[in-house]
Amino acid sequence: MLKAKQFFLFGILLVCAVFLVSCTGTGQSGKTGEKAATSLQIKGSDTMVNLSQAWAEEFMQKNKGAGIAVTGGGSGTGIAALINGTAQMANSSREIKPQEKEDLKTKIGKDVKEYIVAQDGITFIVNKENPVKELTVGQLADIYTGKVDNWRELGGPDEKIVVLAREASSGTHVFVKEHVMKNENYRPDALLQTSSATIMKEVTVSKGAIGYVGMGYSSDQTRVIAVKKDAQSPAVVPSEATINNNSYPVSRPLYIFTAGDPVGVSKDFIVFVMSPEGQAIVKQMEFVPVK
Protein backbone atom coordinates (compact mmCIF):
# COMPACT_ATOMS: atom_id res chain seq x y z
CA MET A 1 0.00 0.00 0.00
CA LEU A 2 2.67 2.44 1.05
CA LYS A 3 4.79 1.33 -1.85
CA ALA A 4 2.01 2.23 -4.23
CA LYS A 5 1.71 5.60 -2.56
CA GLN A 6 5.38 6.30 -2.93
CA PHE A 7 5.21 5.25 -6.52
CA PHE A 8 2.36 7.68 -6.99
CA LEU A 9 4.32 10.51 -5.36
CA PHE A 10 7.30 9.69 -7.53
CA GLY A 11 5.04 9.81 -10.56
CA ILE A 12 3.75 13.25 -9.62
CA LEU A 13 7.29 14.53 -9.23
CA LEU A 14 8.25 13.07 -12.58
CA VAL A 15 5.34 14.87 -14.21
CA CYS A 16 6.43 18.08 -12.48
CA ALA A 17 9.93 17.54 -13.79
CA VAL A 18 8.76 17.11 -17.36
CA PHE A 19 6.56 20.15 -16.98
CA LEU A 20 9.42 22.26 -15.67
CA VAL A 21 11.68 21.22 -18.49
CA SER A 22 9.08 22.02 -21.11
CA CYS A 23 8.53 25.35 -19.37
CA THR A 24 12.08 26.45 -20.05
CA GLY A 25 11.41 25.98 -23.76
CA THR A 26 8.24 28.06 -23.86
CA GLY A 27 9.88 30.69 -21.67
CA GLN A 28 12.52 31.31 -24.29
CA SER A 29 10.17 31.59 -27.20
CA GLY A 30 8.10 34.01 -25.12
CA LYS A 31 11.14 36.26 -24.72
CA THR A 32 11.82 36.53 -28.45
CA GLY A 33 8.17 37.40 -28.93
CA GLU A 34 8.52 40.31 -26.52
CA LYS A 35 11.56 41.65 -28.34
CA ALA A 36 9.56 42.11 -31.52
CA ALA A 37 7.45 44.74 -29.78
CA THR A 38 10.38 47.07 -28.93
CA SER A 39 11.13 50.19 -30.88
CA LEU A 40 14.43 49.50 -32.61
CA GLN A 41 15.44 46.23 -34.23
CA ILE A 42 19.09 45.73 -35.14
CA LYS A 43 20.00 42.58 -37.00
CA GLY A 44 23.00 41.19 -38.81
CA SER A 45 26.65 40.30 -38.49
CA ASP A 46 27.51 37.84 -35.75
CA THR A 47 30.91 39.51 -35.41
CA MET A 48 29.15 42.69 -34.37
CA VAL A 49 26.52 41.20 -32.07
CA ASN A 50 28.47 41.75 -28.87
CA LEU A 51 29.67 45.20 -29.90
CA SER A 52 26.17 46.19 -30.91
CA GLN A 53 24.76 44.80 -27.69
CA ALA A 54 27.27 46.83 -25.68
CA TRP A 55 26.26 49.98 -27.55
CA ALA A 56 22.58 49.20 -27.06
CA GLU A 57 22.96 48.62 -23.32
CA GLU A 58 24.88 51.84 -22.81
CA PHE A 59 22.42 53.73 -25.01
CA MET A 60 19.41 52.41 -23.14
CA GLN A 61 21.05 53.41 -19.85
CA LYS A 62 21.22 56.97 -21.08
CA ASN A 63 17.86 57.04 -22.82
CA LYS A 64 15.31 55.45 -20.54
CA GLY A 65 12.36 54.17 -22.47
CA ALA A 66 14.28 53.37 -25.62
CA GLY A 67 14.16 49.67 -26.41
CA ILE A 68 16.77 48.20 -28.67
CA ALA A 69 16.90 44.55 -29.65
CA VAL A 70 20.05 43.17 -31.21
CA THR A 71 20.12 39.85 -32.98
CA GLY A 72 22.77 38.09 -35.04
CA GLY A 73 22.34 35.68 -37.89
CA GLY A 74 24.96 37.03 -40.25
CA SER A 75 25.45 40.12 -42.41
CA GLY A 76 23.24 38.79 -45.19
CA THR A 77 20.39 38.05 -42.80
CA GLY A 78 20.59 41.57 -41.43
CA ILE A 79 20.48 43.20 -44.85
CA ALA A 80 17.58 40.95 -45.84
CA ALA A 81 15.71 42.03 -42.71
CA LEU A 82 16.35 45.67 -43.62
CA ILE A 83 14.92 45.08 -47.09
CA ASN A 84 11.87 43.27 -45.66
CA GLY A 85 11.31 46.03 -43.14
CA THR A 86 11.60 43.70 -40.13
CA ALA A 87 14.70 45.53 -38.89
CA GLN A 88 15.51 49.25 -38.90
CA MET A 89 19.24 48.71 -38.86
CA ALA A 90 21.53 46.09 -40.33
CA ASN A 91 24.95 45.27 -38.92
CA SER A 92 27.30 44.10 -41.60
CA SER A 93 30.92 43.08 -41.84
CA ARG A 94 30.83 43.37 -45.64
CA GLU A 95 29.75 45.97 -48.16
CA ILE A 96 26.17 45.95 -49.39
CA LYS A 97 25.83 44.30 -52.81
CA PRO A 98 24.40 46.33 -55.77
CA GLN A 99 21.51 43.84 -56.01
CA GLU A 100 20.66 44.38 -52.35
CA LYS A 101 20.77 48.15 -52.85
CA GLU A 102 18.28 47.84 -55.70
CA ASP A 103 15.99 45.55 -53.69
CA LEU A 104 15.93 48.06 -50.87
CA LYS A 105 15.05 50.83 -53.31
CA THR A 106 12.14 48.88 -54.83
CA LYS A 107 10.75 47.45 -51.58
CA ILE A 108 11.17 50.29 -49.12
CA GLY A 109 11.56 53.11 -51.63
CA LYS A 110 14.67 54.53 -50.00
CA ASP A 111 18.39 54.55 -50.70
CA VAL A 112 20.70 52.75 -48.35
CA LYS A 113 22.64 54.90 -45.96
CA GLU A 114 25.92 53.39 -44.79
CA TYR A 115 28.03 54.14 -41.74
CA ILE A 116 31.45 52.67 -41.04
CA VAL A 117 31.21 52.36 -37.27
CA ALA A 118 34.35 50.40 -36.42
CA GLN A 119 37.23 48.49 -37.92
CA ASP A 120 37.96 44.84 -37.37
CA GLY A 121 41.67 44.07 -37.48
CA ILE A 122 43.90 41.50 -35.89
CA THR A 123 47.57 41.16 -35.16
CA PHE A 124 49.62 38.06 -35.88
CA ILE A 125 52.34 37.43 -33.35
CA VAL A 126 55.30 35.04 -33.18
CA ASN A 127 57.98 34.19 -30.65
CA LYS A 128 60.69 36.82 -30.18
CA GLU A 129 63.39 34.39 -31.26
CA ASN A 130 61.65 33.74 -34.56
CA PRO A 131 63.55 35.58 -37.32
CA VAL A 132 60.51 35.72 -39.62
CA LYS A 133 59.34 39.34 -39.67
CA GLU A 134 56.82 39.46 -42.48
CA LEU A 135 54.38 37.12 -44.17
CA THR A 136 51.94 37.41 -47.05
CA VAL A 137 48.23 36.80 -46.55
CA GLY A 138 48.65 33.65 -48.65
CA GLN A 139 51.40 32.35 -46.39
CA LEU A 140 49.24 33.01 -43.33
CA ALA A 141 46.45 31.04 -44.98
CA ASP A 142 48.85 28.16 -45.69
CA ILE A 143 49.97 28.15 -42.07
CA TYR A 144 46.42 28.09 -40.71
CA THR A 145 45.05 25.53 -43.17
CA GLY A 146 48.05 23.29 -42.61
CA LYS A 147 49.64 23.44 -46.07
CA VAL A 148 52.87 24.67 -44.50
CA ASP A 149 54.05 23.23 -41.26
CA ASN A 150 57.65 24.14 -40.77
CA TRP A 151 59.14 27.63 -40.45
CA ARG A 152 61.91 26.53 -42.85
CA GLU A 153 59.44 26.81 -45.71
CA LEU A 154 58.86 30.47 -44.82
CA GLY A 155 62.51 31.48 -44.54
CA GLY A 156 62.81 30.69 -40.85
CA PRO A 157 64.63 28.03 -38.82
CA ASP A 158 63.88 24.31 -38.97
CA GLU A 159 61.12 24.48 -36.38
CA LYS A 160 57.64 22.97 -36.41
CA ILE A 161 54.92 25.62 -36.57
CA VAL A 162 52.59 25.58 -33.57
CA VAL A 163 49.35 27.12 -34.78
CA LEU A 164 47.35 29.02 -32.18
CA ALA A 165 43.84 30.22 -32.92
CA ARG A 166 40.79 31.40 -31.03
CA GLU A 167 37.86 29.17 -30.12
CA ALA A 168 35.21 28.56 -32.78
CA SER A 169 32.74 30.73 -30.89
CA SER A 170 35.00 33.76 -31.30
CA GLY A 171 34.30 36.33 -34.02
CA THR A 172 38.03 36.49 -34.70
CA HIS A 173 38.14 32.77 -35.43
CA VAL A 174 35.51 33.28 -38.09
CA PHE A 175 37.12 36.48 -39.37
CA VAL A 176 40.45 34.77 -40.02
CA LYS A 177 38.67 31.81 -41.56
CA GLU A 178 36.72 34.01 -43.95
CA HIS A 179 39.18 36.79 -44.57
CA VAL A 180 42.58 35.08 -44.57
CA MET A 181 41.83 31.42 -45.21
CA LYS A 182 39.20 31.97 -47.90
CA ASN A 183 36.74 29.87 -45.89
CA GLU A 184 38.88 26.77 -45.81
CA ASN A 185 38.92 24.87 -42.53
CA TYR A 186 41.54 25.38 -39.85
CA ARG A 187 44.07 22.59 -39.63
CA PRO A 188 42.53 20.16 -37.15
CA ASP A 189 45.54 20.26 -34.81
CA ALA A 190 45.43 24.04 -34.38
CA LEU A 191 45.37 24.90 -30.68
CA LEU A 192 42.12 26.72 -30.01
CA GLN A 193 42.51 29.11 -27.10
CA THR A 194 39.83 30.83 -25.08
CA SER A 195 41.44 34.25 -24.94
CA SER A 196 44.02 36.51 -26.54
CA ALA A 197 45.89 36.35 -23.24
CA THR A 198 46.48 32.59 -23.41
CA ILE A 199 47.64 32.92 -27.02
CA MET A 200 50.14 35.58 -25.92
CA LYS A 201 51.36 33.31 -23.14
CA GLU A 202 51.93 30.35 -25.43
CA VAL A 203 53.64 32.45 -28.13
CA THR A 204 55.96 33.81 -25.45
CA VAL A 205 57.16 30.36 -24.41
CA SER A 206 57.02 28.35 -27.65
CA LYS A 207 59.66 29.12 -30.27
CA GLY A 208 57.63 27.79 -33.18
CA ALA A 209 54.31 29.34 -32.24
CA ILE A 210 52.21 31.77 -34.24
CA GLY A 211 48.94 33.21 -33.03
CA TYR A 212 46.55 36.06 -33.57
CA VAL A 213 45.28 38.53 -31.01
CA GLY A 214 43.07 41.60 -30.94
CA MET A 215 44.52 45.03 -31.62
CA GLY A 216 46.51 46.49 -28.78
CA TYR A 217 47.28 43.09 -27.34
CA SER A 218 50.89 42.80 -28.48
CA SER A 219 53.73 43.21 -26.00
CA ASP A 220 57.53 43.27 -26.11
CA GLN A 221 57.49 39.57 -25.20
CA THR A 222 56.38 38.73 -28.74
CA ARG A 223 57.03 39.93 -32.28
CA VAL A 224 54.28 41.41 -34.42
CA ILE A 225 54.27 40.11 -38.00
CA ALA A 226 54.06 42.70 -40.76
CA VAL A 227 51.59 41.47 -43.35
CA LYS A 228 51.88 41.79 -47.14
CA LYS A 229 48.80 41.61 -49.29
CA ASP A 230 50.78 39.59 -51.83
CA ALA A 231 54.44 38.93 -52.59
CA GLN A 232 54.86 42.31 -54.38
CA SER A 233 53.12 44.51 -51.82
CA PRO A 234 54.90 46.31 -49.00
CA ALA A 235 54.79 44.75 -45.55
CA VAL A 236 52.49 46.67 -43.23
CA VAL A 237 52.58 46.63 -39.44
CA PRO A 238 49.09 46.83 -37.96
CA SER A 239 48.14 50.02 -36.15
CA GLU A 240 45.05 52.16 -35.86
CA ALA A 241 46.45 54.36 -38.65
CA THR A 242 47.29 51.57 -41.11
CA ILE A 243 43.95 49.91 -40.47
CA ASN A 244 41.99 53.12 -40.96
CA ASN A 245 43.75 53.91 -44.25
CA ASN A 246 43.15 50.33 -45.42
CA SER A 247 46.82 49.56 -45.99
CA TYR A 248 46.89 46.71 -43.44
CA PRO A 249 45.40 43.77 -45.32
CA VAL A 250 43.93 41.75 -42.43
CA SER A 251 41.24 44.22 -41.49
CA ARG A 252 37.78 45.12 -42.60
CA PRO A 253 35.36 47.94 -41.93
CA LEU A 254 32.22 47.14 -39.96
CA TYR A 255 29.05 48.81 -41.23
CA ILE A 256 25.65 49.82 -40.03
CA PHE A 257 23.11 50.19 -42.85
CA THR A 258 19.81 52.04 -42.59
CA ALA A 259 17.06 52.56 -45.15
CA GLY A 260 17.19 56.27 -45.92
CA ASP A 261 18.34 58.82 -43.37
CA PRO A 262 17.80 57.52 -39.85
CA VAL A 263 15.19 59.32 -37.78
CA GLY A 264 14.16 59.28 -34.12
CA VAL A 265 15.80 56.57 -32.00
CA SER A 266 17.79 55.32 -34.99
CA LYS A 267 19.34 58.72 -35.49
CA ASP A 268 20.16 59.11 -31.78
CA PHE A 269 21.69 55.66 -31.79
CA ILE A 270 23.98 56.36 -34.76
CA VAL A 271 25.04 59.66 -33.19
CA PHE A 272 25.82 57.79 -29.96
CA VAL A 273 27.79 55.09 -31.80
CA MET A 274 29.97 57.69 -33.54
CA SER A 275 30.47 59.74 -30.37
CA PRO A 276 33.71 59.44 -28.37
CA GLU A 277 31.77 57.37 -25.85
CA GLY A 278 30.51 54.95 -28.49
CA GLN A 279 33.97 54.67 -30.00
CA ALA A 280 35.42 53.98 -26.55
CA ILE A 281 33.14 50.94 -26.41
CA VAL A 282 34.58 49.88 -29.79
CA LYS A 283 38.03 49.81 -28.25
CA GLN A 284 36.75 47.99 -25.18
CA MET A 285 35.32 45.24 -27.36
CA GLU A 286 38.71 44.76 -29.08
CA PHE A 287 37.80 46.45 -32.34
CA VAL A 288 39.50 49.51 -33.84
CA PRO A 289 37.70 52.84 -33.47
CA VAL A 290 37.17 54.87 -36.63
CA LYS A 291 37.46 58.25 -34.93
Binding site: M1, L2, K3, K5, Q6, L9, F10, L13, L14, C16, A17, V18, L20, V21, T24, G25, Q28, D46, N50, G72, G73, E159, K160, I161, V162, E167, A168, S169, S170, H173, V174, K177, N183, N185, Y186, P188, D189, A190, L191, L192, Q193, T194, T198, K201, E202, V205, S206, K207, G208, A209
Partner: protein, 321 residues
Amino acid sequence: MKLSGGNPLAGTEMDLSPAKRSAGQNPRWRQPRALLEKVVETGLFLAALTGVVTIILIFLFLFKEAVPLLLAPGPTASLTAKNWYPVSTPPVFGLWPLIAGSLLVTFGAIAISVPLGVGAAVYLAMVAKPTVREFVKPAIEILAGVPSVVLGFFGIAVLAPLIQDIFGLPTGLTALTGAVTLAFMAIPTITSISEDAIAAVPGKYLEAALSLGATKWQSIVTVVVPAALSGVSAAIMLGIGRAIGETMTVLMVTGNAGVIPDSFLVPVRTMTATIAAEMGEVARGSLHYHALFVVGAVLFIMTFMINLIADLISRRLKKGA
Protein backbone atom coordinates in the same frame (compact mmCIF):
# COMPACT_ATOMS: atom_id res chain seq x y z
CA MET B 1 10.99 1.99 2.38
CA LYS B 2 11.76 -0.65 4.95
CA LEU B 3 11.52 1.94 7.65
CA SER B 4 8.01 2.95 6.72
CA GLY B 5 6.99 -0.66 6.12
CA GLY B 6 7.80 -1.56 9.70
CA ASN B 7 6.09 1.54 11.00
CA PRO B 8 2.96 0.92 13.03
CA LEU B 9 1.41 3.86 11.20
CA ALA B 10 1.05 1.64 8.17
CA GLY B 11 -2.02 0.29 9.86
CA THR B 12 -3.81 3.63 9.64
CA GLU B 13 -4.20 3.25 5.94
CA MET B 14 -4.88 -0.43 5.86
CA ASP B 15 -7.78 -0.30 8.22
CA LEU B 16 -9.04 2.69 10.10
CA SER B 17 -10.95 1.02 12.90
CA PRO B 18 -8.14 -0.67 14.85
CA ALA B 19 -6.08 2.51 14.64
CA LYS B 20 -8.97 4.48 16.06
CA ARG B 21 -9.41 1.99 18.80
CA SER B 22 -5.76 2.08 19.77
CA ALA B 23 -5.83 5.86 19.74
CA GLY B 24 -8.75 5.77 22.11
CA GLN B 25 -6.99 3.37 24.43
CA ASN B 26 -3.71 5.29 24.55
CA PRO B 27 -3.01 8.63 26.21
CA ARG B 28 -4.04 11.73 24.24
CA TRP B 29 -0.50 12.88 23.31
CA ARG B 30 0.01 9.93 21.06
CA GLN B 31 -1.98 11.40 18.23
CA PRO B 32 -0.06 14.65 17.71
CA ARG B 33 3.13 12.70 18.07
CA ALA B 34 2.02 10.28 15.39
CA LEU B 35 1.19 13.24 13.18
CA LEU B 36 4.58 14.79 13.80
CA GLU B 37 6.24 11.51 12.99
CA LYS B 38 4.38 11.33 9.74
CA VAL B 39 5.35 14.89 8.83
CA VAL B 40 9.00 14.21 9.57
CA GLU B 41 8.88 10.99 7.63
CA THR B 42 7.38 12.68 4.59
CA GLY B 43 9.90 15.50 4.89
CA LEU B 44 12.81 13.10 4.91
CA PHE B 45 11.33 11.17 2.02
CA LEU B 46 11.08 14.38 0.00
CA ALA B 47 14.65 15.33 0.93
CA ALA B 48 15.84 11.97 -0.30
CA LEU B 49 13.85 12.43 -3.46
CA THR B 50 15.42 15.80 -4.32
CA GLY B 51 18.55 14.15 -5.64
CA VAL B 52 16.56 11.75 -7.77
CA VAL B 53 14.37 14.49 -9.17
CA THR B 54 17.37 16.67 -9.93
CA ILE B 55 19.07 13.92 -11.85
CA ILE B 56 15.87 13.20 -13.79
CA LEU B 57 15.51 16.90 -14.60
CA ILE B 58 19.09 17.14 -15.80
CA PHE B 59 18.69 13.99 -17.81
CA LEU B 60 15.49 15.18 -19.48
CA PHE B 61 16.84 18.66 -20.19
CA LEU B 62 20.08 17.34 -21.63
CA PHE B 63 18.38 14.92 -23.96
CA LYS B 64 15.63 17.33 -24.91
CA GLU B 65 18.31 19.74 -26.14
CA ALA B 66 20.40 17.02 -27.76
CA VAL B 67 17.66 15.35 -29.76
CA PRO B 68 17.11 18.09 -32.40
CA LEU B 69 20.58 17.51 -33.83
CA LEU B 70 20.05 13.78 -33.99
CA LEU B 71 16.79 14.39 -35.85
CA ALA B 72 18.23 17.03 -38.20
CA PRO B 73 18.63 15.54 -41.69
CA GLY B 74 22.18 16.45 -42.79
CA PRO B 75 24.69 16.75 -39.98
CA THR B 76 23.70 13.63 -38.04
CA ALA B 77 26.18 11.59 -40.05
CA SER B 78 28.87 14.08 -39.16
CA LEU B 79 28.71 13.02 -35.50
CA THR B 80 30.93 10.16 -36.50
CA ALA B 81 33.27 12.36 -38.55
CA LYS B 82 36.91 12.77 -37.61
CA ASN B 83 36.88 16.53 -37.03
CA TRP B 84 35.07 19.10 -34.94
CA TYR B 85 34.35 22.09 -37.21
CA PRO B 86 31.27 23.73 -35.69
CA VAL B 87 31.44 26.96 -37.72
CA SER B 88 32.29 25.70 -41.18
CA THR B 89 29.57 25.31 -43.80
CA PRO B 90 28.20 22.73 -43.48
CA PRO B 91 29.18 22.27 -39.85
CA VAL B 92 31.00 19.09 -38.88
CA PHE B 93 30.40 17.82 -35.37
CA GLY B 94 32.72 14.82 -35.19
CA LEU B 95 32.65 13.57 -31.61
CA TRP B 96 35.58 11.16 -31.83
CA PRO B 97 38.41 13.62 -31.18
CA LEU B 98 36.59 14.94 -28.12
CA ILE B 99 35.80 11.50 -26.72
CA ALA B 100 39.34 10.33 -27.45
CA GLY B 101 40.75 13.47 -25.81
CA SER B 102 38.67 13.03 -22.67
CA LEU B 103 39.51 9.35 -22.39
CA LEU B 104 43.23 9.87 -22.95
CA VAL B 105 43.55 12.63 -20.37
CA THR B 106 41.43 10.74 -17.85
CA PHE B 107 43.33 7.51 -18.43
CA GLY B 108 46.63 9.33 -17.97
CA ALA B 109 45.38 10.94 -14.78
CA ILE B 110 44.30 7.54 -13.41
CA ALA B 111 47.62 5.94 -14.32
CA ILE B 112 49.41 8.62 -12.31
CA SER B 113 47.02 9.20 -9.44
CA VAL B 114 45.99 5.65 -8.53
CA PRO B 115 49.46 4.30 -7.64
CA LEU B 116 50.41 7.55 -5.91
CA GLY B 117 47.08 7.99 -4.14
CA VAL B 118 46.67 4.40 -2.96
CA GLY B 119 50.36 4.21 -2.09
CA ALA B 120 50.05 7.31 0.06
CA ALA B 121 46.94 5.87 1.70
CA VAL B 122 48.70 2.62 2.58
CA TYR B 123 51.65 4.55 3.95
CA LEU B 124 49.43 6.81 6.05
CA ALA B 125 47.23 4.03 7.39
CA MET B 126 49.78 1.31 7.98
CA VAL B 127 53.31 2.65 8.04
CA ALA B 128 53.45 6.29 9.08
CA LYS B 129 53.98 7.28 12.70
CA PRO B 130 50.93 9.02 14.19
CA THR B 131 52.76 12.36 14.31
CA VAL B 132 53.70 12.15 10.61
CA ARG B 133 50.18 11.07 9.77
CA GLU B 134 48.58 13.96 11.63
CA PHE B 135 50.66 16.31 9.56
CA VAL B 136 50.59 14.65 6.12
CA LYS B 137 46.92 13.74 5.86
CA PRO B 138 45.54 17.25 6.34
CA ALA B 139 48.21 18.52 3.94
CA ILE B 140 46.99 16.15 1.24
CA GLU B 141 43.40 17.10 1.95
CA ILE B 142 44.21 20.78 1.55
CA LEU B 143 45.29 19.96 -2.00
CA ALA B 144 41.67 18.99 -2.66
CA GLY B 145 40.64 22.53 -1.82
CA VAL B 146 42.90 24.19 -4.38
CA PRO B 147 40.61 25.75 -7.01
CA SER B 148 40.96 24.10 -10.40
CA VAL B 149 41.76 27.41 -12.10
CA VAL B 150 44.77 27.80 -9.82
CA LEU B 151 45.97 24.34 -10.77
CA GLY B 152 45.40 25.38 -14.38
CA PHE B 153 47.68 28.37 -13.88
CA PHE B 154 50.27 26.11 -12.34
CA GLY B 155 49.90 23.82 -15.36
CA ILE B 156 50.41 26.63 -17.87
CA ALA B 157 53.16 28.47 -16.06
CA VAL B 158 55.24 25.63 -14.59
CA LEU B 159 54.29 22.25 -15.94
CA ALA B 160 53.80 23.05 -19.65
CA PRO B 161 57.26 24.65 -20.14
CA LEU B 162 58.79 21.79 -18.14
CA ILE B 163 57.16 19.11 -20.28
CA GLN B 164 58.06 21.05 -23.42
CA ASP B 165 61.72 21.11 -22.36
CA ILE B 166 61.94 17.51 -21.14
CA PHE B 167 60.47 15.98 -24.28
CA GLY B 168 61.67 18.67 -26.70
CA LEU B 169 58.15 19.34 -27.93
CA PRO B 170 56.93 22.21 -30.09
CA THR B 171 54.36 23.05 -27.38
CA GLY B 172 53.93 22.10 -23.73
CA LEU B 173 50.14 22.14 -23.91
CA THR B 174 49.59 18.39 -24.22
CA ALA B 175 47.44 15.52 -22.98
CA LEU B 176 50.24 14.65 -20.55
CA THR B 177 50.15 18.15 -19.03
CA GLY B 178 46.41 17.77 -18.56
CA ALA B 179 46.79 14.27 -17.11
CA VAL B 180 49.37 15.39 -14.56
CA THR B 181 47.34 18.39 -13.36
CA LEU B 182 44.20 16.23 -13.17
CA ALA B 183 46.16 13.64 -11.20
CA PHE B 184 46.92 16.36 -8.66
CA MET B 185 43.20 16.92 -8.35
CA ALA B 186 42.31 13.25 -8.02
CA ILE B 187 45.05 12.25 -5.56
CA PRO B 188 43.52 13.92 -2.45
CA THR B 189 40.16 12.21 -3.06
CA ILE B 190 41.76 8.82 -3.65
CA THR B 191 44.18 9.07 -0.73
CA SER B 192 41.73 10.40 1.79
CA ILE B 193 38.95 7.88 1.13
CA SER B 194 41.31 4.91 0.66
CA GLU B 195 43.08 5.77 3.88
CA ASP B 196 39.77 5.76 5.75
CA ALA B 197 38.89 2.38 4.23
CA ILE B 198 42.28 0.84 5.04
CA ALA B 199 42.29 2.25 8.56
CA ALA B 200 38.82 0.76 9.10
CA VAL B 201 40.07 -2.80 8.52
CA PRO B 202 39.96 -4.47 11.96
CA GLY B 203 43.38 -4.63 13.60
CA LYS B 204 43.03 -8.35 14.22
CA TYR B 205 43.39 -9.03 10.47
CA LEU B 206 46.90 -7.61 10.55
CA GLU B 207 47.67 -9.30 13.85
CA ALA B 208 46.47 -12.66 12.55
CA ALA B 209 48.56 -12.31 9.40
CA LEU B 210 51.64 -11.30 11.37
CA SER B 211 51.21 -14.16 13.83
CA LEU B 212 51.08 -16.60 10.93
CA GLY B 213 54.59 -15.50 10.11
CA ALA B 214 53.88 -13.04 7.27
CA THR B 215 56.09 -9.98 7.03
CA LYS B 216 54.48 -6.58 7.48
CA TRP B 217 54.65 -5.98 3.71
CA GLN B 218 53.04 -9.33 2.95
CA SER B 219 50.31 -8.72 5.51
CA ILE B 220 49.51 -5.32 4.08
CA VAL B 221 49.46 -6.42 0.46
CA THR B 222 47.73 -9.75 0.83
CA VAL B 223 45.39 -9.18 3.77
CA VAL B 224 44.71 -5.58 4.75
CA VAL B 225 44.43 -3.89 1.34
CA PRO B 226 42.26 -6.66 -0.17
CA ALA B 227 39.99 -6.38 2.88
CA ALA B 228 39.62 -2.66 2.20
CA LEU B 229 39.25 -3.12 -1.54
CA SER B 230 35.65 -2.01 -1.85
CA GLY B 231 36.46 1.29 -0.14
CA VAL B 232 39.63 1.70 -2.18
CA SER B 233 37.83 1.05 -5.47
CA ALA B 234 35.10 3.50 -4.51
CA ALA B 235 37.84 6.05 -3.85
CA ILE B 236 39.40 5.38 -7.26
CA MET B 237 36.04 5.74 -9.01
CA LEU B 238 35.38 9.03 -7.26
CA GLY B 239 38.82 10.16 -8.38
CA ILE B 240 38.06 9.16 -11.98
CA GLY B 241 34.75 10.99 -11.77
CA ARG B 242 36.55 14.10 -10.67
CA ALA B 243 39.08 13.77 -13.48
CA ILE B 244 36.67 13.16 -16.36
CA GLY B 245 34.32 15.95 -15.33
CA GLU B 246 37.01 18.54 -14.68
CA THR B 247 36.78 21.45 -17.07
CA MET B 248 38.77 24.54 -16.21
CA THR B 249 42.16 22.88 -15.83
CA VAL B 250 41.97 20.91 -19.05
CA LEU B 251 40.66 23.92 -20.93
CA MET B 252 43.76 25.79 -19.86
CA VAL B 253 46.49 23.18 -20.26
CA THR B 254 45.60 20.63 -22.94
CA GLY B 255 45.85 22.98 -25.92
CA ASN B 256 42.37 22.21 -27.29
CA ALA B 257 43.29 20.81 -30.67
CA GLY B 258 40.50 18.65 -32.04
CA VAL B 259 42.54 15.79 -33.43
CA ILE B 260 42.43 12.13 -32.45
CA PRO B 261 45.64 11.91 -30.40
CA ASP B 262 48.32 9.35 -31.21
CA SER B 263 50.35 9.86 -28.04
CA PHE B 264 50.34 11.64 -24.69
CA LEU B 265 52.62 14.33 -26.06
CA VAL B 266 50.19 16.00 -28.45
CA PRO B 267 47.51 18.60 -27.71
CA VAL B 268 44.01 17.22 -27.24
CA ARG B 269 40.54 18.61 -26.84
CA THR B 270 38.19 17.20 -24.21
CA MET B 271 34.41 17.16 -24.14
CA THR B 272 34.17 19.36 -21.07
CA ALA B 273 36.54 21.96 -22.49
CA THR B 274 34.58 22.07 -25.75
CA ILE B 275 31.32 22.74 -23.96
CA ALA B 276 32.87 25.37 -21.70
CA ALA B 277 34.65 27.17 -24.50
CA GLU B 278 31.82 27.26 -27.01
CA MET B 279 28.60 27.37 -25.00
CA GLY B 280 29.10 31.00 -24.02
CA GLU B 281 28.62 32.51 -27.43
CA VAL B 282 26.71 29.93 -29.40
CA ALA B 283 23.33 31.00 -30.76
CA ARG B 284 20.51 29.37 -28.80
CA GLY B 285 18.67 26.76 -30.82
CA SER B 286 21.32 26.51 -33.55
CA LEU B 287 22.72 23.16 -34.63
CA HIS B 288 25.97 24.04 -32.87
CA TYR B 289 24.01 24.61 -29.63
CA HIS B 290 22.33 21.23 -29.92
CA ALA B 291 25.65 19.61 -30.82
CA LEU B 292 27.12 20.83 -27.54
CA PHE B 293 24.22 19.19 -25.75
CA VAL B 294 24.96 15.96 -27.59
CA VAL B 295 28.49 16.22 -26.22
CA GLY B 296 27.03 16.82 -22.76
CA ALA B 297 24.75 13.81 -23.10
CA VAL B 298 27.66 11.59 -24.12
CA LEU B 299 29.65 12.84 -21.14
CA PHE B 300 26.67 12.22 -18.87
CA ILE B 301 26.32 8.67 -20.14
CA MET B 302 30.03 8.05 -19.63
CA THR B 303 30.05 9.27 -16.03
CA PHE B 304 26.85 7.31 -15.43
CA MET B 305 28.56 4.15 -16.65
CA ILE B 306 31.57 4.81 -14.42
CA ASN B 307 29.31 5.17 -11.39
CA LEU B 308 27.41 2.05 -12.36
CA ILE B 309 30.64 0.07 -12.72
CA ALA B 310 31.88 1.43 -9.39
CA ASP B 311 28.65 0.32 -7.75
CA LEU B 312 28.82 -3.15 -9.29
CA ILE B 313 32.45 -3.58 -8.24
CA SER B 314 31.86 -2.55 -4.66
CA ARG B 315 28.78 -4.79 -4.47
CA ARG B 316 30.63 -7.79 -5.84
CA LEU B 317 33.52 -7.14 -3.46
CA LYS B 318 31.17 -6.90 -0.52
CA LYS B 319 29.53 -10.16 -1.49
CA GLY B 320 32.92 -11.81 -1.84
CA ALA B 321 34.04 -10.57 1.56
